[in-house]
Symmetry: C2
Subunit: 137 residues, 2 copies
DNA sequence: GATACCGGTATCCTACGGGATACTGCTATC
DNA sequence: GATAGCAGTATCCCGTAGGATACCGGTATC
């Protein structure tokens, strides 16, 4: 155990815990990332989103969209057509998520590799090796 | 809507979604971060951890430690003393989390500031302004 | 001999995330 | 007049995360 990790959390520390939790909360839930991905190709209407998201129930979609609007990741625009048109779009501010999401993605990719290499070390096939929900297929 | 966010998720894309989810999973749950923080000051025994973590129930502690051991964030070492001593310690590999956690923390801090400035814009005191669980105190 | 500490496990229970289904008011089309 | 689309809301239901409590076998202490 070298000192590599010795201060991982001196820097994180209790005071930063809340900030990390806030960030995690903003991006978790089953649908927030998929919604961001869907909207990244341009504004979408409610039903369009619903169809794009493998038929998410309207309740969940509505709830997630409201939260994301509060967090200013998206805007909700009502056009006074008949029938009314409601369009959701990413805000410029949502771009601030890019860095942190890419960071998560990169770590996730490396982590999967890491677990796979550990699997190969033990020659045992060990039917369905899984480490804490990351499927090492 | 400038193009700032236009490709936020071209890069993330569906193929990366799983990696992001894996990363989120590895670090969420109520206790994983606190455990990492506690262990960052050095190896700890089971009961020491339990006391350090505001009396987390042994069931939860045991479960979280097992998951973290599978993910190779920590090691579990049994010393053959009487009574037996079990020591948990961070692995060097756990240091790989540092970058991603700091990224989350930084974004969380900026996000809180962002929401606070939005609160000030609208002069309304709006008793207990909260945006999607981030308390803007 | 009774109590306390250690490292957990087992059992029960609740709260919340999230899904299924049904329904609303309005309009346009057949 | 019936059906279908839009943008949701309301109600019920279930599975899991996580807490409370009790308990185990072992040793050391009073």
């Amino acid at each position: 155990m070298e000192e590599i990790h010795g201060d991982v959390s001196k820097e994180i520390c209790m005071k930063s815990l809340d900030a990390v939790k806030d960030a995690l909360y903003a991006v978790n839930g089953k649908w927030k990332l998929p919604i961001i991905i869907a909207l990244s190709e341009g504004p979408r209407r409610f039903k369009e989103l619903q169809r794009a998201l493998d038929d998410i129930t309207p309740k969940m979609l509505s709830k997630e969209l409201k939260e994301m609007e509060l967090n200013e990741f998206i805007t909700r625009t009502v056009y006074d057509t008949t029938p009314v048109t409601v369009e959701y779009a990413l805000t410029p501010y949502s771009g601030s998520l890019k860095e942190v999401i890419l960071s998560l993605r990169d770590w996730g990719i490396e982590h999967k590799k890491h677990l796979q290499s550990k699997c190969r070390e033990r020659k045992k096939p060990a039917h369905a090796q899984v480490a804490a929900k990351v499927e090492v297929a």
